[in-house]
């Protein structure tokens, strides 16, 4: 932590200017639920923080005809309890309900979590599976980054230091789609040992038309299980196929052994979870 200045922009334009002026030295702080622990452990020592927590214009949830948009200052808690999200995007609400504890969800933001790019962040694999994009901006203008292109490496993203992420956009899902997410964790409030999100779309004969499977906590950044998706393509799912899918998913994981367990154990958990979330997603798609 030690010493830093905190700048309080009045509006976005103000914030862009501050970030540009202190490029390389300033960090954005939103809810601080990711950043503050990092500062306290002295893992980062920025000279300035630009506090965007009070830019309440960025606190919104809109479910329109193109899909869902969640503003940068929307808290986890707001997502978790949003009636529209519970109804139309249950996987997001369920994921949020298992993220940390109430205090963290009350003050931390979904977009902040994505920008933090923690290798154990829960939202990233879910949003990736749903094909989400991030709208970002600086005083040089706006751009849209597909999350597929956003997470580059361990806590490295495509975001530039002068940019602010403005909103998450989740595209409308095709008919007969379902999505599921599960994490294994030590305690209820803990980050995952391993987690997997799956989104599938079925054709009218219950064959998989499209699938997106992402893992978290088993690589420096969230990782996609393409072979597993390919195995599913065009198939009606049965137990044997689920086993192959689980195996193929674990096959691309590259976990390290750490305080969350050995690499071998994490691989095993990936298999268990993959089976569970793929069949759950399919059930949902069938019901949709």
């Amino acid at each position: 932590m030690l010493r830093f200045e905190v700048l309080h922009p009045h509006d976005l334009a103000d914030a862009f200017d501050m970030l540009t002026q202190h490029e390389g030295e300033a960090k954005i702080i939103a809810g601080g639920q990711g950043l503050m622990p990092v500062l306290k452990h002295r893992q980062l020592t920025p000279r300035q923080l630009v506090n965007i927590r009070n830019l309440s214009d960025l606190d919104y949830i809109v479910d329109g005809k193109d899909g869902l948009r969640i503003g940068a200052l929307t808290t986890h808690q707001a997502v978790e309890n949003s009636a529209i999200i519970k109804k139309r995007w249950p996987v997001l609400a369920e994921m949020e309900a298992r993220l940390g504890d109430i205090q963290t969800r009350n003050w931390g933001t979904l977009v902040g979590n994505v920008c933090q790019a923690s290798p154990t962040g829960d939202p990233a694999p879910v949003l990736l599976a749903l094909g989400a994009c991030l709208k970002v901006a600086s005083n040089r203008g706006e751009r849209l980054i597909a999350l597929d292109d956003f997470f580059l490496d361990y806590q490295k993203t495509a975001l530039k230091g002068v940019e602010i992420a403005l909103e998450i956009q989740v595209p409308k899902q095709p008919a007969r789609s379902g999505a599921a997410y599960h994490k294994e964790s030590y305690r209820w409030t803990d980050s995952p040992i391993a987690s997997v999100a799956a989104a599938v779309t079925l054709d009218e004969r219950d064959r998989v038309k499209g699938a997106r499977i992402f893992m978290q906590a088993v690589c420096p950044a969230p990782i996609r299980a393409r072979q597993a998706e390919d195995l599913l393509a065009g198939q009606q799912v049965n137990n044997g196929l689920l086993d192959q899918v689980a195996q193929a998913t674990a096959g691309v994981a590259c976990p390290i052994s750490d305080v969350y367990g050995t690499a071998e154990y994490k691989m095993e958990m990936v298999k268990v979870i993959t089976r569970q979330v793929v069949s759950q997603a399919i059930k949902q798609a069938q019901a949709a």
């Binding site: 010493r3 639920q33 923080l49 506090n51 205090q103 009350n106 003050w107």
Partner: protein
């Protein structure tokens, strides 16, 4: 390096000088002498520093003091204005939900945030509401029981 900061705590307006990197719990404790919120883990993992911001529980060690400007801060000291205890406080006494007391302030405030939103909580609701508050002494049983009793009492009162 200290800067002027306006805070509204337990209904009162304060002007304090504090370094910009100070967290809400630090400013409450060190500058305002409002000490019921405790600091224990300092990394957001224990809930001892829990305070309410606009009625919602947050961890005072992960909120910069300057971020609390414009919000209503409530600490345990502000729970029962003047005479008489809040039903949660009374239930904590009656049901032995207090041992060393270091988690108590955070527990009671997390419980208050819950009961203000949910008049009829189940045991599961209570558990989820205090999942961010560690207690090393009580094993939680008597805390959960006390909160459920308080919920009942608050319903009777209303």
């Amino acid at each position: 390096m200290k800067q002027l900061l306006q805070l509204k705590v337990n209904g009162e307006e304060y002007e304090v000088f504090a370094e910009p990197w100070k967290t809400l719990v630090e400013v409450l404790r060190e500058e305002l002498g409002i000490t019921a919120a405790k600091e224990s883990c300092n990394t957001g993992n224990c809930g001892a520093c829990t305070v309410l911001l606009d009625g919602k529980a947050v961890k005072g060690c992960l909120v910069l003091a300057s971020q609390a400007r414009g919000h209503d801060v409530m600490t345990l000291e502000g729970l029962s204005n003047g005479d008489g205890l809040h039903p949660i406080q009374q239930a904590f006494i009656d049901h032995f939900a207090v041992q060393c007391g270091f988690c108590t302030s955070g527990m009671i405030l997390s419980a208050k945030a819950l009961l203000d939103e949910n008049k009829d909580p189940t045991e599961d609701d209570v558990r989820k509401a205090i999942a961010g508050n560690l207690c090393r002494c009580t094993g939680y049983k008597k805390i959960v029981e006390a909160i459920l009793v308080a919920a009942e009492a608050m319903k009777q009162e209303a």
